[in-house]
Amino acid sequence: MPSPPVIYGLFADPESADRGMNALHRAEISSKKIVVMSAEPFDDYSFAKMDHHTPMPWIAATGGVVGGTCGFLLARLTQVAYPINTGGMPILAAWPTGIVTYELTMLGAVLTTVVTLLITTKLPNWKSKLYDEEVSNGKILIGVLDPSDAARAEIENRLRGAGAVKVKATNPHH
């Protein structure tokens, strides 16, 4: 997919990044169109406070339930499917069934967590062009996805004004 045109600034430190963020907000650019990238999580800065709402714990719990059910059925059904008496124990042995159920519950939770993570963060995604290696040198990238041609100039100024060490733009027309 051709990545959308974007204008972004690279900030040397979180404080200036914060300023850049606020500047964009003041320009009434919807946070939907704003993109942020950093080499570390900056949990206590506003620019990193985007979409912090996730049902991941609940999904994980559900996954656990599903896994547990599978475990229970596996244990239960196979004992019935191949009913053999050993050591004077009941064909349906409760405690071992419990153990298998427990293990698969945990497995279910873990796997769903991982899957949810990958899906919600759209990973893996090797195609995306929208990235700047400066990020991994500590720069913080803040930009706007396909801005209206009218707004382009203003956005650039605001980013510079906020203290972006560099402002780059990808132009759709060429």
């Binding site: 942020v36 990238m37 153990i99």
Partner: protein, 449 residues
């Protein structure tokens, strides 16, 4: 450390990934040689039959199961500890977690091979898998070995993901700094990580959930390993104390292994500024607690056996206390308690070297403990006529040595491919200002002695 710039951290921690030294290659060659020898020994055993081992009536389990329990125990170093530290949000954990989690993954994989190695007919190992087969037979859920199967697989999968997820951002880092082929490879490994707030947040949430999940799994794994023994009516096996006893022992040996690994990494990868005395100090205290706990369990186990005074149990009891196994038993007590306790208890001695020495003895002691749990009981069951003994053969010894070398080998190779300390987590640590300040003070103290 607080004084280090993010750039500096990146450079220091990526250094090991660039190029290999002759010394490194030499070590790898040696270790690899031993591993190959072990593999051929195993091949020979498959060809000739289990008779090439020293197993015999009535000791049907020996070195192999000892190694199995030992390595599974060792695997409790990483994931469990790092999970606990994550949840406790102990900031000093940041440089420690990854090298801990690596131990888990490797130790677990090594330990998990022993149930196969010790089989009489390893080529039929797939009989253990619960799948609808043409034989129409399902495995026996009542067998603790099946529980092992489920528990170990769960633990392995969890640990691997627990290790891999936080590695992705660091792969991205390497990707951006590398050229050519290397860039491509790490690009793939980085999964196209860009570092948006969303990615960061989901990653941390996921790690948090898994930290919660992995702790009970780890506990269950070693409980189940202990039940392999406790479920059989064998003198000194058939005991309720076994599960906690084994778990404690596992964490004990795990921490020891972690300290050893860190000490070696610190020396050979020049991480003096990252793996600080404070880390060894803190882990040392943890080890001290576990040593006391271990001693408490041994005491409790022995005391109840002795008071119970049941003749078959007493036979095992005395053979370890005074009898043919007593040298091993008392060596174990020295290695697990008498030596490490003073070293770890006295602050002056709780140095990097001190903790490393203590950890070394503990690792040996814990291996002996596993051996002493298995063999004396089997060789002294109820009917004295059936009593016997056990001597390992070169095959078992080679394979055992091979696993230790395999551990070192995997570790060395890993540290050449992945930053052994989580770079992004370290950087993030820098920005948690308040904690950072405390860290500065503490570490400078630690640095002082």
């Amino acid at each position: 450390m607080a004084t280090k710039s993010a750039e500096q951290i990146t450079i220091d921690l990526l250094r090991p990934l660039s190029g290999i030294s002759g010394r490194w290659a030499f070590a790898v060659a040696i270790l690899g040689g031993v591993v190959v020898a072990a593999l051929s020994a195993f091949g020979y055993q498959i060809y000739a039959g289990l008779g090439v081992s020293g197993l015999r009536m009535p000791v049907f389990w020996g070195f192999y199961i000892t190694n199995f329990v030992f390595w599974i125990g060792l695997s409790h170093a990483g994931t469990l500890i790092s999970a606990i530290l994550r949840l406790a949000n102990a900031t000093w954990r940041r440089p420690v977690t990854r090298c801990a989690e690596v131990i888990t993954v490797f130790a677990l994989s090594i330990g998990a091979t022993f149930p196969l190695i010790h089989l009489g007919r390893p080529w039929l190992a797939f009989f253990l898998f619960p799948y609808p087969s043409e034989r129409g037979i399902w495995p026996n859920i009542r067998s603790p070995l099946l529980w092992d199967f489920f528990a170990i697989n769960t633990y392995l999968i969890s640990s691997v993901t627990f290790l891999l997820l936080p590695m992705v951002p660091d792969f991205a880092l390497v990707r951006d700094r590398a050229e050519g082929m290397k860039k491509k490879i790490y690009g793939v490994l980085a999964l196209g990580w860009t570092g948006t707030p969303k990615q960061w947040h989901r990653l941390e949430t996921a790690m948090h959930i898994m930290a919660i999940a992995v702790i009970p799994v780890a506990v269950s794994v070693h409980s189940i390993v202990s039940w392999d023994f406790a479920m059989a009516p064998v003198p000194m096996w058939h005991s309720t104390i076994f599960a906690p006893y084994f778990v404690a022992g596992a964490i004990f040996s795990g921490i020891a292994a972690l300290i050893l690994a860190m000490a070696l990494l610190r020396k050979f990868l020049h991480l003096e500024e990252y793996l600080l005395p404070i880390h060894f100090e803190n882990l040392g205290k943890l080890l001290l607690v576990m040593s006391l706990l271990w001693f408490y369990f041994v005491f409790a186990e022995r005391l109840t056996a002795w008071y119970g005074n049941e003749s078959s149990e007493m036979a095992v009891f005395w053979t370890t206390q005074h009898g043919s196994y007593s040298p091993l038993f008392w060596t174990m007590v020295c290695c697990n308690f008498l030596i490490p306790f003073p070293i770890l208890a006295i602050k002056k001695l709780r140095t990097i070297t001190g903790t490393a020495i203590a950890s070394f003895t503990v690792v040996i002691g814990m291996w002996l403990e596993r051996f002493l749990i298995i063999v004396p009981s089997l060789s002294h069951k109820y009917l004295t006529y059936s009593w016997g003994t056990y001597r390992p053969t070169w095959v078992e010894i080679t394979i055992t040595a091979g696993t230790f070398c395999a551990m070192a080998l995997l570790y060395m190779i890993f540290s050449k491919i992945v930053p052994i300390i989580s770079i992004w987590e370290l950087k993030a640590g820098q920005h948690l200002k308040t904690q950072a300040v405390r860290l500065v003070v503490r570490s400078s103290e630690a640095g002082a002695d």
